[in-house]
């Protein structure tokens, strides 16, 4: 299972529809401060079901929608698609047969989210089920946010234990 691309439209500073392709196993992302690099990671965690605004550096869940800039008006909604190549059948359960898996999430200004799985509307739970057993998810240890790498080893003994249990 490989991550093929992420498409963002109206998500944070990605006001225009933008496709981020990941053509190989080792992809670097570079650019000036404040240009939108960490917003891409927020988009991945958001489309996988992240529900806390604070974890997405916002105050309300609708803060992920493009808020306007010097020359652009705020938008009314945000959409992110994430497309996987599942030709190895790694994604389990009823989806193992799908060669490609696309998950989509959209949100409007009232904070109402809709989830889609290969084009069909579904619930948030269904997205979580897709990733069950793969170690992936909105708070997966496979996603290290900026400035948090050392926090892991500084956590209290019972937190470190929980972390290990989650991975078992």
């Amino acid at each position: 299972m490989r991550l093929n691309k992420i498409k963002l439209a109206g998500f944070k500073s990605f006001v225009d529809p933008t496709a981020v392709e990941f053509p190989s196993a080792l992809v670097g992302v570079a650019g000036p401060n404040g240009s939108g690099k960490s917003n891409i990671i927020d988009a991945v965690r958001w489309v996988m079901g992240e529900s806390s605004a604070k974890q997405l550096r916002g105050g309300r869940i609708a803060d992920v929608i493009f808020n306007g800039s010097g020359g652009r008006q705020p938008l009314a909604s945000a959409v992110v698609d994430m497309v996987f190549d599942n030709s190895d059948g790694r994604l389990g359960g009823e989806y193992a047969g799908w060669r490609e898996i696309a998950i989509r999430r959209s949100v409007d200004r009232e904070g109402v989210s809709n989830y889609f799985l290969n084009g069909t509307r579904c619930r948030r739970r269904d997205i979580a089920d897709v990733f069950l057993g793969t170690g992936l998810g909105p708070r997966s240890y496979a996603i290290i946010e900026q400035g948090t790498i050392s926090r892991l080893v500084e956590s209290r003994p019972e937190e470190l234990r929980e972390f290990l249990e989650e991975a078992a």
Binding site: M1, R2, L3, K12, S13, V15, D16, T18, V20, F22, P23, S24, A25, L26, V27, G28, V29, A30, G31, P32, G34, S35, G36, K37, S38, N39, I40, I41, G68, S69, G70, G71, R72, R90, T134, G135, L136, S140, Y141, A142, I143, I144, E145, Q146, G147, I149, S150, L152, V153, E154, R156, P157, E158, L160, R161, F163, L164, E165, A167, A168
Partner: protein, 158 residues
């Protein structure tokens, strides 16, 4: 679940030590249980950088802590390898020698796992197969540009 935890603990511990030695070029890193009772004991990390005495995580330097954390994440990762791994500027506190060791490790692991590395460090950019540039030529609006390492470095300057 007691058996399961014990097995996880031991496997991560072994892998942690191997990755620690690789990232630090020696020494050793270990997980220690804080209590007798397997089912509710806490877990702490002890680290011994090469040539130094055993230290608690608190006494380590900023760069040393980042290395231990990478070793732990990757040790857990290998137990249950997620298909991709996103790292946001984890190389920021590292000096060049440690960045090189970190990049070597990531290069090896990318045989089984897909990595996306956000970085300002030229050395890390250089080991990536592809580089994605993110800019805000129009203020407040993010856009992607294709770049090579030299351009990416210039991009971070613009």
């Amino acid at each position: 679940t007691r058996e399961r935890f014990k097995e996880t603990f031991e496997r991560v511990n072994q892998r942690l030590d191997e990755l620690f030695q690789r990232l630090f070029g020696g020494g050793s890193g270990k997980l220690v249980l804080t209590g007798e009772e397997l089912l509710d004991a806490g877990v702490v990390i002890t680290a011994r950088p090469p040539g130094k005495k055993n230290a608690t995580i608190q006494m380590l330097s900023g760069g040393e802590k980042a290395l231990v954390a990478v070793a732990l994440v990757f040790a857990i990762f290998e137990l249950n390898p997620a298909p991709f791994c996103l790292l946001d500027e984890v190389d920021a506190p590292m000096d060049d020698a440690n960045v090189d060791r970190f990049c070597d490790l990531v290069k090896d692991m990318s045989a089984n796992t897909q990595f996306v590395l956000i970085t300002h460090n030229r050395r890390t950019m250089a080991v990536c197969h592809q580089l994605i540039g993110v800019t805000m030529q129009e203020p407040g609006v993010s856009r992607l540009v294709g770049v090579d390492v030299d351009e990416a470095e210039r991009l971070a300057v613009s």
